[in-house]
Amino acid sequence: MKAMLPHGNTQPADAGVPQAGAGRRPQDSRFRKLTLPVGAIALTLGLIGGARAEQVLLMNFKGTLTMTSPDAKLVHQPIDSDALASHCLQTIGISNTGPFALVFHQDSSDIGDTIEVVNKTNGVFACGVLRLYFQEHFERADGTLSKRFAYGYNYIDGNSFGTAILNERTTMDKQGHTNRFVIDGSLQWYWTNAMEVWSGTFTTGGPLTFTNAP
């Protein structure tokens, strides 16, 4: 068990969600001329240093929930992304999962990533599934693969209650531009408030852009 330090993420419910226009380029051409080389340098340094950028990716999860039934039997229940999101939403009293999506929020804070349920339309945070903090990682020299180990935390307790293995895969075109970015991996954790063990694998989809961000 690894205890989360007091400086752990205590962000408000909608913090960290990309805001409208956050990544918008300046319209002034002189400024654009200035920013493009800086951006290129930042990209190069990022690739060399393995730096990551905050982004929200759709997440596809498949796994198993093991729990104790009322008659004291162990039940193994297949779980997908919708079921995982639904379980999370139920903890805050929401039963209609339609407007929500399970997402992988890369670099949601300076100590790691989070798996969250957000509103599909505006990206507003609804509830958190796992915080994947204090990552140990190493990369391929060309930057196309980063393998990561993370401790899993919930949004209640300070101790870790699971782990994740993450593979961040980047494919680049001949000019060295990123043309595809995917994270896949495996998760295993237990739920503190019930006798439940969750495990499974996941793959991310494309970055989510919100049409009606607040």
Binding site: M1, K2, A3, E136, H137, F138, K147, F149, Y151, S160, G162, T163, A164, I165, S186, Q188, W189, V197, S199
Partner: protein
């Protein structure tokens, strides 16, 4: 030991005979952990599945 380096999900299955005595035991599971860097190797990640076999019986010398 300062903190954990990984986690394991273990399924333990036991079968009992009619007298209630343990007839068989099987543990299976998924492991994921990391290996701290050493003088010769960098950080390592290990993932996998395991399955136990028969009981080891250690005979006294």
């Amino acid at each position: 030991m300062s903190h954990s380096l990984g986690s394991v999900v273990i399924d333990e299955k036991r079968a009992f005979d009619k007298a209630g005595d343990l007839k068989s035991f099987l543990a299976t599971g998924d492991i994921q952990y990391y290996l701290l860097p050493t003088a010769t190797n960098g950080l390592g990640l290990c993932t996998g599945k395991f399955r136990t076999g028969k009981h080891l019986i250690i005979k006294p010398q």
